[in-house]
């Protein structure tokens, strides 16, 4: 069918070929291929669903929690642990932890000054020591609930099996920890925000400046053509190469600048140039080509008549750009910037190369601090063999996706709001 008329294309039909007989066959072929095309399109949607479900599967599920010390045994005079007053909780703490550890708690913040909830959390963390001994993902649970419960009861007698949402308010505000039960993404989120702030602060003015130069000033000469080609090529360079650029230039060559030595601001926690500043600048260079190309598109879309009118009234080139071109191109530029920003937030590889910290529990205090970011945290947790860390990796992915979704929704809103503009 398709084979018979493909030799000379469909335009030449030999006189003896029966055209009418052939037609249903050709239509059948067309129909069959249409189904194939639709099927492959559906695959895209299926994959997206699978990805989201897979993350959900990891982020929620059953966890078997085993307490080292049963809370019931800590009850005093028949009052359950959770109802005890602060003074008795402190006594329990003193009786059950080593003297050195107790002194460390006192020196961090005197126990008498802490609130009852803080002391209670400390008792639970250090005395009761709940430990996750086994986890079951969500879908296994939904499909074979009875089996899971039986298996849990058999494998971990004495453990409490309960439904756990690995993503919870506690997860968002706790710092990193070696114990997956207590680990959170607070340091990672703060690190991400600091990094992005520096990235945008660095890349936005440079990118918009370069776009204005290329669209409004540059004449068609060799140098400007090289700059334009170069930007297009940079957009295709793998992100890990930018990481190596950051490592060689920002961390090593400009180490004294990026570690803050030049300003006399050496953060005691800082490891040479592997700081938020280096990370931010590296990501800035990474998104620069993207930002320039987007801003160029936005500036190109401003109608030429606007510029001519401005020139006609005697405005200089810069006055024209500042008062007419930029305000009109701004929504487009901002949309492009937000898209570039969401790319930067999700980047992992260059930051690993630049030297993200593997384990920090203190919040970053400024551009010269050591850093970790949300994607780095996800990578490290995923790379660990224990199931519980995979669970909190899934929870961290949900946090990251929520952040990205917010950003992209903003971009789409901006685009929709300004796309029906005065001159279209």
């Amino acid at each position: 069918m398709a084979g018979r008329n493909s030799a000379h294309g469909l335009l030449v039909t030999s006189p003896d070929e029966d055209f009418a007989d052939n037609l249903p066959g050709r239509h059948r072929t067309a129909k069959a291929w249409q189904i194939v095309l639709q099927a492959s399109t559906v695959i895209g949607i299926v994959v997206l669903m699978a990805l989201l479900l897979n993350i959900m599967d990891g982020a929620f599920g059953y966890a078997a929690v085993q307490n080292k010390v049963a809370p019931e045994t800590l009850a005093v005079d028949g009052i359950a642990l959770e109802d005890l007053p602060k003074e008795q909780l402190i006594e329990i703490l003193q009786a059950n932890v080593s003297a050195g550890l107790f002194r460390r708690f006192e020196s961090e913040k005197p126990l008498a000054e802490r609130s009852r909830e803080e002391v209670y959390d400390l008792v639970v963390e250090r005395v009761v020591e709940p430990e996750v001994v086994g986890t079951w993902p969500l879908f296994e649970l939904l499909l074979h609930r009875a089996d899971v419960l039986a298996e849990a009861a058999e494998a971990f007698p004495g453990a409490e099996v309960r439904f756990t949402s690995w993503i919870n308010p506690q997860f968002a505000v706790s710092p990193q920890s070696a114990n997956p039960e207590q680990a959170g993404v607070r340091t990672a989120i703060l690190g991400s925000l600091w990094t992005i702030a520096i990235t945008i602060g660095f890349a936005f003015p440079l990118g918009v400046g370069a776009a204005i130069y290329l669209e409004e000033y540059a004449t068609d000469n060799r140098l400007n053509r090289i700059i334009q080609t170069n930007i297009n090529n940079l957009a295709g360079v793998p992100s890990i190469i930018y990481g190596m650029l950051g490592l060689a230039v920002f961390v090593r060559l400009l180490g004294s600048l990026t570690s803050g030595q030049v300003f006399g601001l050496v953060d005691p926690t800082t490891a040479n140039g592997r700081t938020i500043l280096s990370a931010g600048l590296t990501l800035g260079l990474l998104i620069l080509p993207l930002l320039i190309i987007n801003a160029q598109e936005a500036i190109k879309a401003v109608p030429g008549s606007l510029r001519q009118a401005s020139f006609g009234l005697g405005a200089t080139r810069w006055q024209t750009i500042w008062h007419h071109v930029l305000p009109n191109a701004m929504p487009g530029i901002l949309t492009g910037t937000i898209l570039a920003m969401s790319r930067a937030i999700g980047e992992t590889a260059p930051l690993v190369v630049v030297g993200a910290s593997t384990f920090i529990t203190v919040d970053p205090s400024g551009p010269f601090s050591k850093f970790t970011t949300l994607p780095i945290q996800i990578y490290q947790w995923t790379a660990r063999p224990q199931d519980e860390f995979r669970n909190i990796a899934a929870a961290a992915i949900l946090v990251l996706l929520a952040l990205l979704l917010t950003l992209n929704a903003t971009a789409v809103l901006l685009r929709n709001r300004y796309s029906r503009r005065r001159y279209s």
């Binding site: 492959s40 994959v47 370069a210 360079v237 793998p238 650029l245 996800i378």
Partner: protein
């Protein structure tokens, strides 16, 4: 000033014979004024544009410089020979144990911290130039080991099949082969799917279907690669293992990484191809319909050939993207360079290796630090080459209609 100029012009028009000095005044008044701050702004904006050039230079400088120190670095290989008799600081000959590596005149050797150059060699007696390259001649005990200077040769780098910098093996092939394998799998997944999606979107889809599909693809392309890495390890690997058996498929394997990279580049292939297909003018399609072609025939025999240059460019760009993809392979493809062709085995790609090595505490000037830049340079040249080729294709083979 401008008012004066206008007045001067009108006066000049009224009294055309007023003479040359009025005309000179007019010329002076209409001359372009100097505006220093406009020039400064122009200069600053040019500098913004020039930053991209600096970035490229920085990449080239960083990669090339560190790669050079990788290839010129002096490595000391244990010759498996020992001093038989103690030598003092002035002795010109060394008595060595037999066996070990063959030494040649001219080679540089090292005993303790002192470097020496071999002048002559007779059986196991070496005549050497002491205190070579500024090192201090010293007394060496009998039984001290001897090391021979060695460098990473380009030939070894590009032909060797073992990569292990710690014991002096520097063949990049295991890494390159793994990269090519994941990329090939990715492309085999992404190209048929991506092109189908593009044809469907541009030729078949109703505007309602498009309004659902386009955002889905945009969401897919906006998901960070580390999330895809999690997906590859937690879903794709499990799927492959349950389909093909846990014996054939290792926990970390290049097949699942490759398939997920294919999913990652799918939106890129489909959106670039769709742009190319949509750029084909409507008249071509209508011409085909008028000749009695079905929709499918129009699509594959008229529209796709007309958009071929754009589609080819999309494919090449996606290959380059697959080669440079890092996090998916770092998470799902496994650690440790492994020279294998089996996609179900663990093997480290170039990008995966760079991430693993630099993830630890990396000290500058170590062989590991230099070696990742050499790998990075190869990676950079590969992707740059592909990108340049795709731009050439678009420029040269673009079919221009009207």
């Amino acid at each position: 000033m401008q008012n004066e100029a206008t007045m001067a012009t009108s006066k000049a028009a009224l009294r055309a014979d007023a003479g040359a000095d009025v005309r000179a005044d007019v010329r002076l008044a209409l001359r372009k004024r100097r505006r220093p701050h406009e020039t400064v702004i122009h200069g600053l904006l040019f500098l913004c544009g020039a930053v991209s050039i600096l970035t490229t230079l920085g990449i080239a400088f960083g990669l090339v410089q560190e790669s050079l120190s990788f290839f010129t670095r002096e490595l000391w290989e244990d010759a498996n020979k020992r001093l038989v008799v103690e030598v003092d600081a002035h002795a010109g000959t060394l008595q060595l144990s037999s066996g070990g590596l063959d030494l040649e005149p001219g080679a540089v050797i090292r005993i303790d911290d002192e470097k020496m150059r071999i002048v002559q060699m007779e059986s196991e007696v070496l005549t050497v130039e002491r205190g070579f390259q500024g090192t201090e001649a010293a007394t060496h005990q009998a039984g001290t080991g001897l090391f021979v200077s060695d460098r990473v040769s380009l030939i070894e780098f590009f032909t060797g099949t073992k990569w292990n910098p710690q014991i002096g093996q520097f063949g990049i092939w295991p890494l390159v082969v793994s990269t090519l394998r994941t990329s090939t799998i990715a492309v085999l997944v992404a190209m048929p799917l991506g092109l189908s999606v593009a044809i469907y979107l541009s030729e078949y889809a109703s505007s309602r279907a498009r309004s659902i599909l386009k955002p889905v693809l945009e969401v897919l392309s906006g998901i960070p690669t580390v999330v895809y890495g999690y997906f590859a390890l937690m879903f794709m690997t499990q799927l492959l293992r349950s389909l093909l058996g846990a014996d054939t498929v290792q926990i970390y394997n290049t097949a699942s990484a490759g398939i997920v990279i294919g999913i990652l580049i799918l939106p890129l292939v489909s959106s670039m191809s769709e742009d190319a297909l949509s750029a084909v003018p409507r008249s071509l399609r209508e011409g085909a319909y008028a000749m009695g072609a079905t929709k499918w025939e129009t699509a594959v025999k008229v529209v796709v050939p007309a958009a071929l240059s754009g589609i080819a460019a999309a494919f090449i760009v996606s290959i380059s993207r697959a080669i440079g993809e890092t996090m998916i392979v770092a998470i799902a493809a496994g650690a440790g360079p492994n020279f294998t062709l089996n996609p179900f085995n663990a093997a480290e790609t170039m990008t995966g290796h760079i991430v693993r090595i630099s993830g630890g505490d990396l000290s500058y000037d170590s062989i590991d630090y230099n070696s990742i830049f050499a790998i990075g340079l190869v990676l950079f040249l590969m992707t740059l080459g592909l990108n340049v080729v795709s731009q050439r294709i678009v420029r040269r083979f673009r079919e221009v209609y009207e």
